[in-house]
């Protein structure tokens, strides 16, 4: 008998259709965002099936799962970035501090100011470093005077751990930075509008290990002030940075648990199979 078999003896769900409910602790008290019965469709095709999840205040939650399981789709629901895809349709209750995100009357512009996003590939605007960071505050009219803007830019860059590296060349193009610095610039840009939640979709997949380590370090620091949801393909990364880990499988949320628990003793056999590299 294999150790796996021994472990799954009482837990024989291996067919994803049998997954009825998320195991572990999907719901928390003191939730910043809470999602209930979320379904997402691309045209006819359903990509997310009845997901229930809370994200706590100042928590880092990692989402992992095989390719195409719907991690990005779910993440992009949280600030309605899915609106840009025409055929995408979202059902269910998604709340940010009690306010329904998908309320048709709700305006996405302030929503996205509250729930910022960082993307897979660093995408600084082809402007100066300063202007990159100042872009958000400028469009939202957050700084009345030049001095205010300077301050916002500096604090944002500081929080993103980039200030020391760029303070002497704020007016050089942001695209001239290295990949890792660019990604930190994008994070600074997001922080600059002081969002409450930051969504990150595989923020390190385009970076080398050293730059990745720096971003991970940054996520750690940011979690003091921000709520962070991060999608990652690297299980090791999820293990390193997150407080809780959510495992998606074919559009369903199979398990959410404390990260330590997920990586040492997950509750669901599918999670176990994925993180130990037993899929195939």
């Amino acid at each position: 008998m294999n150790v796996q078999e021994a472990i799954v003896e009482n837990n024989t769900i291996t067919d994803v259709n049998d997954i009825k409910e998320t195991v572990g602790i999907p719901l928390v008290e003191n939730a910043k965002m809470s999602m209930r019965d979320v379904d997402v469709f691309y045209g006819e095709k359903q990509a997310i099936f009845g997901v229930n999840l809370d994200i706590g205040v100042n928590e880092v939650i990692a989402m992992i799962g095989p390719s195409g399981c719907g991690k990005s789709t779910f993440l992009r629901c949280l600030n309605r970035m899915n609106d840009t895809i025409e055929i995408c349709k979202v059902n269910g209750q998604l709340h940010l501090e009690g306010q329904n995100i998908y309320d048709p009357k709700l305006d996405v512009v302030p929503l996205r100011a509250r729930v910022g996003m960082v993307f897979q590939k660093p995408n600084p605007f082809p402007k100066s470093i300063y202007d990159n960071v100042a872009y958000g505050p400028r469009i939202h009219g957050l700084a009345a005077r030049r001095a205010d803007m300077d301050e916002i830019v500096e604090t944002s860059l500081r929080k993103a751990g980039l200030w020391e590296e760029v303070k002497d060349r704020l007016h050089q193009p942001g695209t001239g930075l290295s990949g890792g610095q660019q990604q930190r610039l994008c994070i600074a840009r997001t922080i600059a509008v002081s969002p409450e939640v930051i969504l990150m979709d595989e923020p390190c997949s385009a970076l080398d290990p050293i730059a990745t380590a720096k971003i991970e370090e940054l996520i750690d620091e940011l979690s003091e002030n921000f709520t962070i949801a991060i999608v990652t393909h690297s299980m090791q990364q999820a293990a390193r940075v997150s407080h809780r880990t959510a495992y998606f499988h074919l559009g369903k949320l199979v398990e959410v648990n404390e990260t330590e628990k997920v990586f040492t003793n997950p509750d669901h056999s599918l999670t176990e199979a994925y993180i130990t590299g037993r899929f195939g």
Binding site: E86, G116, N123, F125, G136, I139, H140, C186
Partner: protein, 471 residues
């Protein structure tokens, strides 16, 4: 044997040699136990053998065709009587032409017997030359083919030599662009220099009077008028300006709307429809400008009293060949240049930048104005500069819709003339290559070339400087 028949024969021969070379290599390969024991694939052995005979034969043919006429002419001159051999070169050319014509069988000419005799001998020479050519070409085809075939050996590096030939061919093609530029420069340069010998450069560039047709100063030798080019350039600029005023905002906004706002269906319909505007020949636009738009403008505006506040400038005087009509139509023609090229560069702006902007909570127009346009700016500037040089160089619209009266004015309702109009009018039908009038066209051509060169150089610099900022 006629040239084309010879050509076809060479081609056939080369094909045969290709097949032979290829099959020989296959036989060799079989003996050795597989193609992998050959240095190259059989295909290359065949190609190598074929090239071995094809290139020399074709060059021989080309050289022969290029030189046999002049050689025969030289010989024909030898046949002429002594006195006629010493004629001036022009008269000699005339005489030779006559002989050619007789030899060619133009019966209407009354040929003197001696001429007829010479002509007969020329015909004889021609036949001889063609026979010799055929013989040489065909024999070398066979010989070289055999040589090429015999070179097919397993260790022979056929692929490498075929590739070398291929590369030389490519290199030769690529130099054509340089020759073209050199050709352009030289074809206008000498005439321009001759022109500037007659009319000083400063007069040409700074003069405000342009009237090549009428003699103003009768005492001036070889010239028939005034050659101050400024009115032409202001006219060109006026029309180009009108065109750009129409084309740039329309084109740009169209591009933005299509790539950022419109859904795919609308885009799929509207974009090609607008591109039709670019495909329509300029004569058509010229026709349209002259026959439809110009009368319309005249009807609509003529006699209209334009009053600004209480200040009236009196009834408008609209010329039938107003700059406005040509400018408008040219603007419409240029819209798709601006819109399509801008659309391409806007589409080339990576989606990630849009995502980045939306992710921060900006509206669509903010994203366009603050992120996409700046990112696409170099491309857009390039597109606009291309459109400008297109407008400056445009010929047929203005030739058809604009007058020839050179006038220094900024009023779009008056008639003006442009550089290209003057060039065509000066050159068409008049082949007197020495008059200042004709030469002036070349000088205008030169200046136009320099201007567009400058513009494009500028555009290239801009595009180079800002290219790859994102990515």
């Amino acid at each position: 044997m006629s040239l084309s028949a010879l050509f076809v024969l060479i081609m056939l021969g080369a094909t045969v040699i290709y097949v032979l070379g290829r099959s020989r290599s296959l036989v060799l390969a079989n003996n050795l136990g597989g193609i992998r024991h050959l240095h190259s694939l059989p295909l290359y052995y065949g190609a190598q053998a074929a090239l071995w005979c094809l290139i020399p034969c074709l060059s021989l043919l080309a050289l022969w065709v290029a030189f046999d006429d002049s050689i025969i002419r030289q010989i024909a001159i030898q046949y002429l009587p002594e006195d006629k051999q010493n004629l001036s070169s022009q008269e000699l050319a005339l005489l030779l032409n006559t002989i050619e014509n007789i030899a060619g069988g133009v019966t209407s000419l009354q040929a003197s017997p001696e001429m007829q005799a010479i002509a007969d001998r020329v015909v004889g020479l021609r036949q001889l030359s063609s026979t010799i050519l055929s013989a040489i070409v065909l024999s070398s085809l066979v010989l070289l083919g055999a040589l090429g075939w015999s070179k097919v050996k397993p260790e022979y590096r056929a692929r490498n030599s075929v590739e070398k030939t291929f590369m030389i061919f490519l290199l030769a093609c690529s130099t054509l662009a340089i020759f073209t530029t050199v050709g352009i420069v030289f074809s206008v340069l000498f005439e321009s220099i001759r022109f500037f010998d007659i009319i000083p450069l400063t007069d040409f560039l700074l003069g405000t009077q342009w009237s090549p047709q009428t003699a103003i100063r009768a005492d001036q030798v070889g010239s028939s008028g005034a050659f101050g080019a400024i009115p032409l350039f202001t006219g060109t600029m006026l029309i180009s300006f009108i065109a750009m005023v129409i084309a740039v905002p329309t084109g740009l906004m169209t591009a933005i709307y299509l790539s950022e706002y419109a859904n795919n269906k609308i885009r799929a319909i509207v974009k090609p429809m607008l591109e039709v505007l670019a495909g329509i020949p300029t004569v058509v636009y010229g026709f349209f400008a002259a026959l439809t738009v110009a009368p319309m403008i005249k009807d609509a505006l003529h006699g209209l009293e334009l009053s600004i506040l209480s200040f009236s400038i009196g009834p408008l005087d609209v010329s039938g060949e107003s700059a406005l009509a040509a400018g408008l139509v040219m603007g419409v023609m240029i819209i798709p240049f601006v819109s399509s090229l801008s659309d391409d560069v806007i589409n080339a702006v990576p989606q990630s930048l849009r995502d980045g902007s939306y992710g921060l909570g900006s509206t669509q127009s903010e994203t366009v104005k603050k992120v996409i346009l700046p990112a696409a700016l170099p491309g857009i500037v390039g597109a606009i500069l291309l459109a400008v040089s297109r407008a400056i160089g445009e010929t047929m619209i203005v030739v058809m819709a604009v007058g020839t009266a050179a006038r220094l004015t900024a009023n779009p309702l008056e008639s003006v003339t442009t550089v290209t109009v003057q060039m065509t009018t000066l050159l068409i039908g008049d082949h007197e290559f020495d008059s200042a009038k004709t030469l002036a066209a070349f000088a205008l051509g030169l200046v136009l070339f320099v201007i567009t060169l400058g513009l494009n150089f500028f555009a290239l610099r801009i595009v180079k400087k800002y290219r790859e900022q994102y990515d």
